[in-house]
Structures are given as C-alpha cells and as structure tokens.
Amino acid sequence: MVTKTDPRHVRTVHPRLRELLFTVRRFLKNPLSVIGLALVVIFGVIALIAPVLEPPRYPDPYRIPHTGFRIQPSPPSPEHPLGTMQQQYDMLYGLVWGARSAFRIGVVVVAANLLIGILLGLLAGYFGGALDEVIMRVTDIFFAIPFLVMAMALVVAIGRGLKAVIAVLIILGWPSYTRVLRSDILVTRSRDFIMAARASGASHLRIMFTHVLPNAMYSVLILASLNIGSTILTAAALSFLGLGSETGTADWGQIVSLCRNWIVGTPTDRFAYWYVVFIPGFVIALFVLGWNLMGDAVRDVFDPRMRRR
C-alpha cells in the first residue's frame, strides 16, 4: 500500500501496466482460481500438442484408432496406457484428441451464445418497449420447450455430427444469457450515473457500451464461464444418446457412449471395467470444474467493486 501512494511510483510505472500487475496479483492470491486456471491451461496444452502426444494414424485425426473388433474393453497395458474401449478404441488417443473437440464445442458455443445474448439483451433491456416485448417472448418460447428434447429434434433435423451439435447448442443457448443480461441492464439503466452520462451529452450507443454494459456484464460472464462446462456435458449427453458425433470420433461424449454398456461390469465383478467408467468421467469432471473455478475468479478480478477489497 505504501508503494501505491508514493508519487514516484505512480510516475514510473505505466498506469495500465500497474493495473495489469494488480489484476494478476489479485488473481494469484486465491488458490481456487489458480487451480481452475491450472486445470484449463493443462487441458489447453494437451489440446494444442495433441499431434505430438498422439500422432494421428488416419487422415482424419479425430478418428480414434482401434486394433481389432473385440467387444470387451481391455485394461491399461503398455500399448494402451489407459486401456481400450468397446471395439478396442484407444482410450488415451480419444481423450487427448477429445480435449480439442471439447474446447471447440465449449468455446465456440459459449462465445456465440454470449455474442447473441449480449446483443439482444442489451437492446431489450436498454430500449424496452415493443422491442423488449418481442425479444423476451421469443426467449419464452425457447424456455417453454425442454432443452434436450428440442436439441435432439434439431440435431436429427440438421443431421448428425459435431458441427450439427455445435450449431444446435448455439441456436438454443442464447436465451438464458439474454434474460440474465436484460434484468441486470434494467437495474443498471435506472441508476443515477446513466442519467449523469446523458446529462453530459453521451449518445445512446456510448451509454449502452461504456456505461451500461460494463456494469451489467458480470453475471453474464460468470454464467458463460460456468456454461462452458455444462455445454460440454450437454454435448456429451447428445453423443451418449447416439445423436452427437459418429461412432469412433474423438469426442468425450462419444467415449462415454462407447463405454456405457460396461458401467456395471460383470455379474461376478461389478468393477471389472472400472477404467472405462472412471477415466473419461474423471476427465470431464476436471474440465468442468476448471471452468467453474475460473468463472468465479473472473468475477473477483474484473469487477472493480470486488477487486479492491
């Protein structure tokens, strides 16, 4: 604190750099955010260096190699460090390349949702009136139909595959963001500083993006970072139901789907195939956990009201 108020210090360090350093320090102070960040970074690195870790064996790297058609999974062995799934698909390969699919699904879907959701929520909340009414009724329609049922119907209509799953999750995901953002904007827009900004001659566009949005965005950002995890889960659920990617694609949902017949093991040994249940489940859980912890950290760090505490 002494260094902060020292005028020499203020002059030597660029204010933006100082803020950034403060942000980083604030972030690193909380062990949970560090764990979250570490998990996401580890998965990110795995996804990035997937071709090094597991060189692809087919032209399409997302096809999991399989040696033979034996139906029972086999336990970890030197050739298959994490064992194999049904039909001898390699577990490690699937998980490593599946990390890429997971990022693709999670990040693309949530980014697109966020973009659509923020735009519509901002319009609805800030301008109100008929526009608000129309946008909110559309979101009501989306909420009226059960999510998974709608997603299944749409995937069937568009056609199977990872791209179809991504498209469907984008189409169905934005209404919750719009709703959350709109309610925050309704609160923010009636605050005095919005009036003050208007009194100093700010235009609507300027008020929307520099005064309203930065003050109303936190819940939506947290929702987004929490949703990266749950988006992966939904995509996995679709794959599990046989509607996602095609059999043998490196996608975590697909792996779980390949393993679902072996969850209860054999009549004599209930845990005979523990590895096909435990390993992919654990990986998915870690991934989701990482994003959730990051979500909380993002709020603590970027909200000026929280960060100076």
């Binding site: 108020t5 005028p7 203020v10 204010p15 109100g128 009636s190 605050r191 005095d192 500083f193 009036m195 003050a196 900004a197 208007r198 009194a199 100093s200 001659g201 700010a202 235009s203 609507h204 520099t210 005064h211 930065p214 003050n215 909200d303 000026p304 009201r305 100076r308």
Partner: protein, 449 residues
C-alpha cells in the same frame, strides 16, 4: 390559451438564458397518470443564481429534467415550451427545444447546460476511473480544441529533437493523422453552425412552411457526424490507433488541471482512482468537475448538498458560489433548504405539487411572502430565539394521480376561499418582479377562465 391582456407568467427579456412556458410533464404509470408538472413557467436570466424550492415530490427535479429533456420513462413532456437563449452572438434569439431531436439535445447537454446530481456516490460510474469519466465531457464536446492542442504540442516536441531522431518521423505521422481527424470535426462544426443559424431564423417565423423546413434541418443535423476524415479507418485499426495516444495525454492534462482548480489535492493521483476509493465530498467535486469541464452557461444543481455532511456542504456551496463568479453564467439551484436559498440565490421560485406558487427575489420572498404556502414554509423554519413550538403546515403532499381540483394547495391552506376549490389561480405580478399564484391577490381570479 387565448392571449391575455396581462402576462400570466414572467416573460423572457433581453438577459434571459432559459425559459419554460406552461410546462406539463406527466408520468404514465400503471396506477394512472401522475400529473407531475401543472403548467410550470420559470425564467432564468444570465448571471443569476435561481433557486427552486419545495418539499419532496413537488416537481423541482422534474422541472429541471424537463429543461434538459431528461425525463425518465414513463414520463413525457405533454405540452409547453422550453426556450434556450444560447446563441453567443445574438442573445435575444432563442431556440425551442421540446421539438428538437435527441441528437440536438446531446450536443447541448454537458456543453451549454450541465447538471450536478444529488447523490455523488450514485452519479459516478463505478467501473470507470475518474479521469475517464471527467474526460468524457471533453471527448463529447471539445474534440476540435483537444486535437488542436495535441498537434501543437507534437510540433513543438518535434522541433526540440535532433534531426536524426527517429521519433521525429513518428511525431510527424501522429500529427498528420490528428490533422485529418480535426478536419472532419471542423467540417462537421461548420455544417452545424450553418444549420443552427437557419434554425434561429425559422424559430422567429413560426409558420407551417417554417416548421417543415425546421424538421428537414433537424434531420440534416442528426446526419452530421464528425467522421474524422481520412483517419476514420486508422482510429479503428488496433496498432495504428496508437496515434491518438498524445490526444489522450492532452485530455488527461485538462482533467488534472480541472481537478486542481476545484481544490482537489494531489489531482494526478485522484484522476487514476475509481469513485469508490474517494470520500463523499471528493466524489461530489468529481461530479462538479464533470459538469464544469466544458464551461456550461447554465449549471443545474439538483440538491447538490443534501447527502453530504455539514462541513462538506459548506465547502461545496462555497465552491459553487466561487464558480458562479469565475466559470459559469447562471446556476439553477434546487433545494429544500431555505437557509441555503437565502445564502446563495438571487431569485427563487417556490413550487407546490407541480404548480409554481410564487416567484420573487430572495429579499422579497423572505421579507414579504405572499402565497400561504410560502408563508407556511417560512413559519416552519426554526429560528435561533424561538420560544414557542415550531409551526407546521397541516396535511401532506397530495397524490398527483388525482390532484385536488382548483388550487392544488387548497386542502391544506389556512386562508382557503370557495373559489380555491373550483379554479386554478393564474400567476400574476403582484408587485414588480414578485409573482404569485393565489386567489387572494387581485387579478388572479380575473384572468382564470
């Protein structure tokens, strides 16, 4: 309204800066229409501090918000006129703003009229640093000047450098981009001046043809945006955008100077801070800085001291009085503190339930209050040597969805007459410069129809 033989409200004169005429502002709520303003007419002259007094909910804030066209949803100015005399060259030429577009209002707000808010803590954006917030005023209204100063500084910088210094080329490039941007602002300003000149002329004619032309001009004015000439692209490209950094430095310099002139200690440091890191008095100074950045002609102060403790109150009042002498022409001061009114104002309007009760100079109002409401207000101010119990006005402010018929004050008035329940009293000039709206004064009953 048919023309009256006698004026029913103070008329605009040569020194008038802002005038509202028979302003009706209503709020369309779920419970019904809240008739917040019931024909408010006030005249603020250049160089005066004008007080608006009344209890909570009497329409003081709605009046000034109407004046700035900042009435919040679901409120609306339903009828009446607001005329501003902002033309520096010809001060008798006013412009009517109820009919103007939002863009027009944006160019006036913060530049010619600005406002200080009641609660300094709430009037500052919590996620913007002080310098960004105060700097916004310059960015909205004084870009041409800011760019000009920046170019000058860059040129001076460049001349001071050795011939081989690579930074010379950089300075030249920055200046070139800024010149292009300034060119855009200049062209835009010239076009707007031309449009405004024509608008002033049309305002005086006021026939149907003039009205059509006015609408066309309004639309043309809306379309005129400073596009920054050839730098329009450059200032959006991530790395090229950096040519604007010297401009940010100029604005920052102005902000720091402004803060210093408002008596804020260590302004460089304060400028970097966020609002919640500052004390209430300091926050109010920042709010004042935002309002004063562009040297407005009219400063609207909406109860600027009600939420501050007494010592800070005194400081802020002193500051506003000082600024009145040096920086701004007129102040419209809203308060419910009669002591403060006596202290700072030249003329005062007392409002009750959306009506103007009485308008007079401070001396007249305190020496010889005419309206029963004003008399009641003054009687309920505690005095130093008071022995007997404090008097008060019985009853409460009426519900403005169903306001009392006739004079809105009649249910609480100790001098009520029969006519008060039936007819709204007109505002009459009982003595020179002393206007009152009450049936007890001759002339009031006559002009009401």
């Amino acid at each position: 309204m048919e023309p009256h033989a006698e004026p029913t409200a103070p008329a605009a004169g040569a020194g008038t800066l802002a005038q509202t005429r028979d302003l009706f502002t209503n709020f369309y709520t779920f419970e019904g229409v809240v008739r917040a303003l019931n024909g408010v007419s006030i005249v603020v002259n250049r160089g005066e501090t004008y007080g608006l007094v009344g209890e909570s909910g009497c329409g003081k804030s709605v009046t000034v918000r109407s004046l700035m066209r900042l009435v919040q949803q679901p409120g609306r100015i339903d009828s009446g006129k607001i005329v501003l005399f902002l033309n520096a060259a010809n001060r008798s030429r006013g412009i009517e703003i109820v009919e103007r577009t939002e863009t027009y209002m944006q160019s006036i707000r913060g530049s010619d009229i600005s406002m200080i808010f009641q609660e300094p803590g709430a009037a500052l954006n919590p996620v913007m640093s002080v310098r960004e917030q105060v700097g916004e005023s310059y960015r909205f209204h004084r870009m041409e000047q800011m760019i000009g100063e920046t170019i000058e500084r860059l040129e001076k910088d460049r001349q001071g450098m050795a011939g081989a210094d690579p930074r010379r080329a950089l300075r030249r490039m920055q200046a070139a981009f800024l010149r292009a941007e300034r060119e855009g602002y200049r062209r835009c300003a010239a076009r707007i001046t031309a449009i405004d000149d024509e608008l002033y002329g049309l305002e005086e004619r006021g026939d149907a043809e003039a009205r059509d032309r006015t609408h066309a001009l309004d639309r043309a004015r809306d379309r005129t945006h400073p596009r920054g000439g050839s730098s329009a692209v450059a200032r959006r490209v991530p790395v090229l955008r950096r040519y604007r950094r010297p401009l940010d430095a100029t604005i920052h310099g102005h902000v720091v100077e402004l803060l210093r002139s408002l008596g804020i200690p260590n302004p460089e440091n304060v400028a970097q801070r966020y609002p919640h890191e500052l004390s209430g008095g300091m926050q109010q100074r920042i709010v004042i800085a935002m309002a004063l950045a562009c040297h407005p002609t009219l400063l609207v102060a909406d109860e600027p001291t009600s939420n501050l403790d007494v010592t800070i109150q005194a400081q802020i009042v002193e500051l506003i009085k000082d600024l009145k002498r040096t920086a701004i022409s007129s102040v419209l001061f809203i308060t419910h503190d009669l002591g403060l009114v006596a202290e700072v104002c030249d003329r005062v309007t007392v409002m009750y339930a959306g009506d103007v009760s009485e308008t007079a100079t401070v001396k007249d109002l305190f020496r010889k209050p005419l309206h029963p409401y004003t008399q009641g207000l003054l009687a309920s101010v505690p005095k130093v040597q008071q022995v007997e119990e404090l008097s008060m006005i019985p009853g409460a402010v009426p519900n403005l969805i169903r306001p009392p018929q006739g004079c809105r004050f009649h249910p609480r008035c100790p001098m009520r007459m029969d006519i008060c329940e039936r007819e709204k009293p007109a505002t009459v000039e009982h003595e020179a410069g002393h206007w009152v709206a009450c049936h007890r004064y001759p002339g009031s009953a006559r002009s009401a129809s």
